[in-house]
């Protein structure tokens, strides 16, 4: 780790002098990269059991969603970068699993995973094809939860007293593997696969709770511009 840090410092020093020399092109230190595209978010849910009162083994699953997305990357050095993916909020269906499998849509939740990655981009700064790896911290913001007639029905609610759902937002760890290909000085395409390790705890207004690992895999593709 120490050596790595040393090399970061060294490379960044080297890079900034290069940048100062006016050699900024490709993915050199100091480059800003802005991209836009789409992200497909696929929760890989490992659900706990809902607390009493509920049918034993009552579980949930969460559906996939695709949204417009983008991101901003800043090259700290010729290899190290900070990346901030951005996306429109995802809207996921929450469906029954386990003892309540097949019960249909129990509700929906909006998700805005906010992640800051530290990336290492392989190869020389002006190589066209650069694979990269990243690791980051995600704040999985869950909000605008809604229930449904099915959720109320199986938990003892009714239209006049519907069962409400709330899901905790939590921090988690996220790993990233991607590839960017530069057409020219400015334009590039970028693709990445991201795996997050985040949990949530959903609480119903009828008192039951359920813990679930969401652990989503996201696939992102986009077109970007460097400046």
């Amino acid at each position: 780790m120490k050596t790595k840090l040393h090399s970061i410092a060294l490379v960044s020093l080297l890079a900034s002098s290069l940048a100062a020399a006016g050699a900024a092109q490709a993915q050199t230190a100091g480059t800003w990269m802005l991209r836009g595209g789409v992200t497909h978010l696929m929760p890989d849910v490992d659900s706990g059991n809902m607390t009493a009162p509920s049918l034993p083994n009552t579980q949930i699953d969460v559906g996939n969603d695709t949204r417009l997305s983008g991101g901003l990357t800043y090259m700290l050095t010729n290899n190290w970068a900070i990346d901030l993916p951005l996306a429109l909020p995802f809207k996921h269906d929450i469906v029954g699993a386990g003892a309540i499998a097949g019960a249909g849509t129990l509700g929906t939740v909006k998700a805005l995973p906010i992640t800051v990655f530290m990336q290492y981009r392989f190869a020389e700064a002006n190589t066209a094809l650069r694979p990269y790896l990243g690791a980051g911290v995600t704040y999985s913001k869950l909000y605008d939860e809604t229930g449904s007639a099915a959720l109320s029905g199986i938990t003892g609610g009714s239209p006049s007293n519907p069962t409400l759902l709330s899901a905790d937002s939590r921090f988690g760890l996220t790993l990233q593997a991607g590839l960017s290909y530069s057409f020219n000085e400015h334009w590039f395409v970028d693709g990445a696969v991201v795996k997050s390790f985040v949990k949530t705890k959903a609480t119903l207004s009828t008192g039951q709770t359920i813990e679930a690992k969401l652990n989503p895999v996201a696939v992102m593709v986009g077109v970007g511009y460097k400046f």
């Binding site: 009493a52 997305s69 099915a150 109320s152 199986i154 009714s158 409400l164």
Partner: protein, 365 residues
């Protein structure tokens, strides 16, 4: 470059909105199928107040549960969930006599009401428990019960009464609930050892299941109903009544279970694959509730909540006249049983949830 701006701007807006904390909501509470009414056929487990005569009402009774102003049985709960009109009894009255004459009420039909289920009703036999015809019984307990004079209109007649009212058909927008057979269990078991054998009782129950499923197929689905929930018999052998019988008459619990299962298995095989019918397995859930009460937040699954000695209930713990004024001491809100066979409002709620699950799986919610 330009095309990026809206999405990033929106994301930032979304971020700030999210930071404000989006309040969750109930979402779309209207069911997928827009039901217009509820029609219910069956027995005491579905009776919304057929026998709520002035005498019964004066004790705070009327339904077979721990009665109160807000007590709902599963049929009421399903109606609330679907936001259809509150079910009201299609026929009211009580042919009470003798010591129980104060409970009597004229037998009246209510054209606007479609909850036909009555306490004591059987599938096709018109004489169920506590019917006035039992006054002549040589058994003193049975003869006493005959004084209450429950109407016990059998399910087959309940259905024909409904069809007579509607011009011979269902409109296809009602939710039809069917739960019957428990009184056939009680009546068939009552004669085992005297005039019948256990095998005969099991055969009679299988026959009752065939009759009920044929009614569902030909007189309900066959007459235009598109959404029918049939609930099978709960595990009667685990009721306080069956537990008490087992103590005095070993082997009766197993026999009760055998005849119940004879009914349920025949019902399941006859209704399997019938379009528009959801068969709800109350047997499995009630068995699990007895074995695993904590999962359902049940605090007691063997003791009736209604006191059998309370002066506020002259029917000795019978839930028709049981109210929160005549329960045993302590918190009985999470008890399974109101009386030796009937569920509390909470247990009714659990049944309603199971029915909702079945309806949800069918895509109706």
């Amino acid at each position: 470059m330009k095309f990026l701006k809206p999405s990033i701007a929106s994301a930032i807006v979304a971020l700030s909105l999210a930071a404000c904390g989006g309040g969750g909501g109930g979402g779309d509470q209207s069911p997928a199928v827009k039901f217009t009414s509820l029609v219910s056929f069956g027995d005491s487990l579905s009776d919304v107040g057929s026998y709520k005569t002035p005498g019964i009402a004066s004790l705070g009774g009327g339904k077979y549960t721990v009665n109160s102003a807000t007590a709902q049985i599963w049929v009421d709960r399903i109606a609330s969930q679907l936001a259809v009109p509150t079910p009201c009894p299609a026929q009211t009255g009580l042919n009470a006599s003798g010591a129980l004459a104060a409970f009597a009420g004229p037998v009246t039909n209510h054209a606007e009401c479609t909850a036909y289920a009555q306490g004591g009703s059987r599938v096709t036999n018109p004489i169920g428990p506590w019917n006035a015809a039992l006054l002549a019984s040589p058994d003193p307990t049975t003869a006493f019960q005959g004084q209450l004079g429950q109407l016990t209109v059998p399910v087959t007649t309940q259905i024909s009464n409904h069809l007579a009212k509607t011009g011979g058909s269902f409109n296809g927008k009602e939710l039809v609930l069917v739960l019957a057979g428990a009184n056939d269990v009680f009546m068939n078991l009552a004669t085992v050892g005297t005039t019948t054998t256990p095998a005969q009782a099991a055969t009679a129950m299988a026959t009752a299941a065939v009759e009920l499923s044929n009614l569902v197929k030909t007189q309900i689905v066959g007459k235009g109903a598109k959404y029918v929930v049939v609930v099978n018999l709960p595990n009667i052998s685990l009721t306080p009544s069956a537990l008490a019988s087992e103590a005095s008459k070993p082997g009766s619990q197993a026999l009760t279970d055998a005849v119940t299962q004879a009914f349920n298995s025949q019902l399941a095989s006859n209704l399997n694959g019938v379009q528009g019918v959801v068969l709800v397995d109350a047997y499995a859930q009630s068995t699990d509730q007895a074995k695993n009460p904590a999962a359902y937040s049940l605090t007691n699954v063997t003791t009736p909540a209604c006191s059998s000695t309370s002066p506020a209930n002259p029917l000795q713990g019978y839930s028709l006249t049981c109210s929160s004024a005549s329960t045993i001491a302590g918190d009985v809100s999470r008890y399974q049983y109101a009386d030796p066979v009937h569920p509390t409002p909470y247990a009714h709620d659990l049944l309603a949830r199971l029915v909702s699950l079945g309806m949800s799986r069918a895509g109706w919610l």
